[in-house]
Symmetry: C2
Amino acid sequence: MVNTLYLPELREMLAADDSQELREFCSAIHPAGTADFMDGLTPEESWRVLQHADPVVRGEIFHYFDHDKQLAILSSQDRQEIAELVANLAADDRVDLLNELDPAIVQELLALTPSEVRRDILRLSAYPEGTAGAVMTTDIVKLSEALTVRQGLAEVSRQAEDVETIYYLYIVDESDRLRGLVSARQLVSAMGKPDTTLGELMETELVTVDADATQEEAAQKVARYDLLAIPVVDEQHRLLGIITYDDVIDVVREEATRDAQQSAAVAPLDSGYLTTGLLELGWKRGVWLALLFFGGLLTAAALRTYDERLVMWPWLIFFIPLVISSGGNSGNQSATLVITALTTGDIKMADWLRVVRREFVVGLMLGGLLGCCGLAVFWLMGPETRTLQTAAVLPLTLVLVVLCGALTGSILPLIFQRLGLDPALMSNPFVAGIVDILGLLIYMNVALLLLSQVR
Amino acid sequence: MVNTLYLPELREMLAADDSQELREFCSAIHPAGTADFMDGLTPEESWRVLQHADPVVRGEIFHYFDHDKQLAILSSQDRQEIAELVANLAADDRVDLLNELDPAIVQELLALTPSEVRRDILRLSAYPEGTAGAVMTTDIVKLSEALTVRQGLAEVSRQAEDVETIYYLYIVDESDRLRGLVSARQLVSAMGKPDTTLGELMETELVTVDADATQEEAAQKVARYDLLAIPVVDEQHRLLGIITYDDVIDVVREEATRDAQQSAAVAPLDSGYLTTGLLELGWKRGVWLALLFFGGLLTAAALRTYDERLVMWPWLIFFIPLVISSGGNSGNQSATLVITALTTGDIKMADWLRVVRREFVVGLMLGGLLGCCGLAVFWLMGPETRTLQTAAVLPLTLVLVVLCGALTGSILPLIFQRLGLDPALMSNPFVAGIVDILGLLIYMNVALLLLSQVR
């Protein structure tokens, strides 16, 4: 909100080409703040402002632009200038961006970047999206264990500007195999003994992640061990790069969004809600909606089978939505609890029997609760002529349906996990869809059983 | 899995009281790994193993125990030893743990802890749970801006063992007001000019968070600005503590779990799925289930109103579950997309009109799609005698119901956000509940309108 207040002034500076003020604007505050202030500018205008920043700061501010503005600038502005910008971006960010650009433009840009940057980009983009290799950065301090603390400090001080983090120094042998790690904390603590070698200081029990492991595995390790960064290695234990805490925060948030979308039967979006095209949005929802619709046909088929009975006991119809939504809600609760517990590592596959037993007990409790509600409702809204049998239909159905929901909702995600599939796929509304049909069958059969005795 | 293989050996060491081996076990690998290896030990046994670790490592290993083991040890073991352990835990962790202990035990422990630790605990526990103040830590390096780089390095080197992070040094004035920040990176880069003062070096444009802001606000700022830590200040801009990146990762994961549970109509659990009591689990689910059940009564009331018509056109009954689940699914998709976009900051309240317009278009597209499916289904499963009017009921209903779901699902979370309530509350199954009723009313009225002409 506040940010837009400055837009006219910014535009004025641009119109007057006021180099001095624009330079000041670019360097006065944190690059993320500067990027926020430029929110309302077009990509074209933003790029003109950035001309007045020095190259490193230009890259930093650009990093905080929103995704679409970044892509618009990369694909429309002077190739030579863009190639310089790309060389100044963090190694992991630039690969992500280039992956989304028109390949023809990427070729032009690559031809203009220094060979080391180009090699780095090609190496990183070889890893499939979602792997540790694809999110790692290669800007790291690698040192030999023969160096002393004094030499190490000097080396860090020299490289400080170019690397992603100076807080962990990685010790490698001559063929780049990871030998150990010295934290900046250890280095600074050891300043009193400047001739100690890094080999003496380093920790050798390191938590690492393979380049082809999933990004979630890397994120879980960083979270579990409270790391600032985790080294990424190949099968020969060669150090390829690191994943830093800030990328882990992004991975965790991305995952949460993806899981939420998946659990609502939306194929995960590649970009933001507002920037996803309407056709793509329609497609990613329509596929699942249609699938669920055809699954739902089974409910229509089931009801058709019990047609005559429903016409004979029309009050059974009133409670159809109530019965199936109760089962669906209970199943949805169980599925979500089990899925989140699997995600946080709270439960493991070995716990499956305990989970199912717990859901059985809780399902009975909840079913009992809704059964009592059901009895009251029958008294209020049921038919005029009440018998023990007619009164028992709704309560008994609700107990069974809620129990069935709790069991289905807990078992399906466990089965998916066991099969190596994402358990989040088995969240509502798929569970709800399955429980809908089971619930209807339970309802109709309970009614058949109890009411056939009445006639 | 692997971890349990070592349990017999650990137990053997304990039985033999093999001090040497146990000490080695405690110090050989990362404390998180050590804690993993003790997974299968009882709290009592784990505590006996920890006796052989030195106090700082003991605190570190304890930090990685699961929550219940931590509480069991704190409340059952020798008070004096526990008080020493507590003094060695991170300032933010120990407050969280003590908050869950029996207050009588906490009093005993506080009496045994050094006065500075006690004061710190009391200060931190004054902040309500979920605020920035409650998650911050007070173990930080505070320096005066008059110090030189050389003095700063010496001071950092001296304090390195005691503080949570040495990577940011906070510069405060004599009354503790935050003046600026020097990163370890800057300090190390400036080693060549050891007489520069920290005041010259420090950055003064700092991103801070108020102690009574929510922990999510702090997490969002850390994520946005890629910070290692964010300073927490009071209304006089005095530096109270910091929140570090590892706590932010925890907050983001906690939030994701909480949101998922809430969106499945489960009141968020305080602890893990397996450790939550069955009664608590039943209660946290039962309340919502009963609430949704009574909301669902409206569907029964609606159906009762249209009783006669349903008996006359029994094929209308078959499609009741299909119609309401289509509306619910579409509403659920919209609600989840809008809620996650609000959480990630992808859309803001100012975008509401754009969101609603988009949902209108997508809703029409999806409704059209399901409408076509509905026409096919009517042909397959509908009544024998088909007229234009009867054939139009299901398709027209589906278009309207899906559109209604998309609009309801997107507008309700926006309204909740506007009212200052958590939009995640308006996720499925509440949206589904509301759309169920609207869907039924649409279905019955469309049928009434079209079929009254047939008779």
